[in-house]
């Protein structure tokens, strides 16, 4: 027979004053040791400073949300003997016993029980309420019965049935004691400062009395509740490590740990920040311009820049677009329309003059060609479209604010520009105002 599993989850909250203590659950609530043995430990009410310790095996944080933190516990690879694994969880670096939640996870071991009984008897074995068998003995009355033994088992009842009689024999089981939980809070001592030592004794422990022995440290008991102890360990001066053991009063060691004493670190000035490397910057801006008369309209630009290494200078290529138009009556002929579309192709240097926190103030200067298209139309003669070429030089001031990976900015730009043909005189510049955004390519 197989052992009967307890239904559902087992929640063990051993602290009476557990309002601030984490709530801990294990899934499964008991398990059989083997190569695939593992358990998920879910901790709620943990908070950001959640700490955990385990008496044996490895405890690894797997998932963390605002509501819970989930750990995965795996036993040592060679663990086969039944044991009661202890978990302890708390928050912060100075817990009391009331702040600590302890969870015990029973782990059973598989073994074969060698039985000698009457020849050809039908044998059943009971261990801690679980039944195994029946299995028939050979003609010499021998058989081997596979059983699972939990950490709380003390004996096995062998029931041999032959014909109309049955015999019951009790075999004592000798199980190794389960290890204790010994945790240090914090895990190391900063410059010899005292730490807390938590000792939790499993309820399978038969020996009475508990003591913590530390080599090169002073041990003081702070709290005791049942079989749990919270002690204060103060390393002696000049100690770099403090080995300690938790043992029974007869000297049988149940857990051991080593406290590291961290020496004060010499103050090393932080290295100067590395000079900014070369970087590519892309951006765009929209706005308008006013240059007198009909030299006014909307404008936009795409800017590609390269920030020079070690210098607060950015070389920029600006490709823009501007538009302006006018409509004028001409004597008795009619109305003449003139529209100009300009594509500035300009080079600029931007000096990142001030950088305070997220705020940036830059000064720009540059110039280039204005390539455009001029269109004449009227209600008295034919239309004309012609290419238009001009130039521009400008200076500008930009104010920006770094927001995450991008920098929105505004720009005010006085510009001197001219575009002329046989049929056009225009200055598509003057005073310009733009709102833009740029970002550095990573």
């Amino acid at each position: 027979m197989r052992p009967v599993a307890l239904p559902g989850l087992l929640t063990l909250v051993l602290c009476l004053q557990a309002q601030a203590a984490p709530v801990v659950e294990a899934e499964p609530s008991r398990l059989v040791l083997g190569p695939r043995a593992r358990a998920e430990i879910t901790v709620r009410n943990g908070g950001p400073g959640l700490r955990g310790a385990v008496s044996v095996g490895t405890l690894t944080a797997a998932t963390s949300t605002d509501e819970f933190t989930r750990f995965v516990w795996t036993p040592p690879a060679d663990a086969r003997a039944p044991t009661l694994v202890l978990f302890a969880f708390w928050t912060g670096e100075a817990p009391t016993l009331a702040d600590i939640t302890v969870l015990a996870l029973p782990c059973s071991g598989r073994t074969e029980l060698a039985i000698e009984t009457e020849p050809s008897a039908q044998v059943t074995v009971e261990v801690a309420g679980a039944r195994f068998g029946p299995k028939r003995a050979d003609r010499q009355g021998r058989l081997k019965m596979p059983v699972e033994v939990g950490p709380h088992a003390h004996e096995a009842r062998v029931i041999a049935e032959l014909a109309d009689q049955s015999k019951i024999r009790v075999l004592p089981l000798s199980l190794p004691p389960s290890p204790w939980l010994l945790a240090l809070v914090p895990e190391s001592s900063a410059e010899g400062a005292p730490v807390h030592a938590l000792v939790v004794v499993p309820d399978t422990e038969e020996s009475a009395g508990t003591e913590l022995v530390a080599e090169g440290a002073k041990v003081e008991k702070e709290q005791e509740a049942g079989r749990r102890l919270l002690l204060r360990v103060t390393p002696d001066r000049d100690r770099s490590t403090v080995p300690m053991v938790a043992r029974t009063l007869d000297g049988s060691v149940r857990a051991q740990a080593t406290l590291e004493v961290v020496a004060p670190q010499a103050t090393v000035p932080p290295p100067p920040p590395p000079p900014p490397p070369g970087r590519w910057i892309l951006g765009g801006a929209l706005g308008g311009y006013v240059g007198g008369g009909s030299n006014a309209g909307p404008q936009g630009a795409f800017i590609a820049g390269y920030g020079l290494p070690n210098l607060p200078l950015v070389l920029e290529l600006e490709l823009g677009i501007r538009s302006q138009s006018m409509s004028v009556p001409v004597g008795t002929l009619g109305t003449q329309n003139s529209s100009l579309l300009v594509f500035p192709i300009e080079l600029a240097v931007r000096w990142e003059a001030i950088s305070a926190g997220n705020f940036r103030l830059s000064v720009r200067g540059g110039g280039g060609l204005l390539v455009g298209s001029h269109h004449l139309s009227s209600n008295f003669d034919a239309d004309l479209t012609e290419a238009a070429l001009g130039w521009e030089i400008f200076a500008a001031v930009q104010a920006g604010l770094q927001v995450g990976p991008v920098e929105p900015y505004i720009e005010v730009r006085p510009a001197l520009s001219k575009v002329s043909t046989d049929h056009l005189e225009a200055r598509p510049g003057g005073g310009m105002f733009s709102v833009g955004v740029r970002g550095t390519l990573r």
Partner: protein, 219 residues
């Protein structure tokens, strides 16, 4: 040393693309496209052109050169400036002999268009002569009316014009308006250097003539 060359070439290439050469004007249509040599009346020539224009966006002004010179054959036609979106209409007297004529258009910047053989003058049907009603005494330089009559015109009467002249004086106009059903009342001005007796002579393209009786012109 040679690095600036491509940039220079680029600037030159861009500069070469600057502006536009205006296309010559085009005679789109002539209405009517032909006419008898002995008739007169309005002719409409439609021209398509880009006028020489300079738009100054700073001053918000547009300057347009609207000068125009148009001829049908050797005959000047239309106003001396662009009008009515290029639809040029004018009165054409019966002064062109039978034949085919070019229409030429010249804009103020010298751009020229010729519509070869666009207007054709066909054979005319002329009267045999002209009479002029009695003209009383006149004052030099003061307009007065005269009534001219075409004699022996074909059906419907003569519809052309005649040349006017006064021997020893100047007369204006030198070409009359169109005859209507063989009659034309024309207001003319005769200017003389010396008072005296003068005679108004008329003639047409076919060589038919007529004249008034002598009339006194005083200063």
């Amino acid at each position: 040393m040679s690095r600036p060359l491509p940039l220079s070439l680029l600037v030159l290439a861009l500069a070469a693309c600057n502006g536009a050469t205006l296309s010559p004007p085009t005679v789109v249509s002539v209405s009517p496209p032909d006419r008898a040599a002995s008739s007169s009346g309005p002719v409409t020539v439609t021209v398509d052109a880009v006028l020489p224009t300079v738009a100054d966006h700073g001053a918000q002004t547009v300057t347009v050169d609207d000068r125009l010179t148009m001829k049908i054959g050797p005959r000047p036609f239309g106003p001396s400036h662009w009008a009515d979106a290029g639809v040029i209409a004018d009165f054409l007297p019966s002064v062109l002999p039978e034949g085919t004529y070019d229409i030429t258009v010249e804009l103020g910047d010298g751009r020229l268009a010729t519509a070869t053989g666009a207007f054709r003058v066909t054979q005319g049907f002329w009267p045999i002569g002209y009479t002029i009603d009695m003209i009383g005494g006149q004052t030099s330089g003061v307009p007065f009316g005269v009534t001219m009559r075409a004699q022996g015109a074909p059906d419907g009467g003569y519809g052309g014009t005649v040349f006017l002249s006064v021997n020893g004086a100047t007369v204006s106009p030198t070409i009359s308006g169109p005859f209507n059903a063989g009659v034309r009342v024309e207001v003319i001005t005769v200017t003389v250097a010396n008072p005296g007796s003068y005679r108004l002579d008329v003639s047409d393209l076919a060589g038919r003539t007529g004249h008034s009786v002598n009339f006194q012109v005083r200063q």
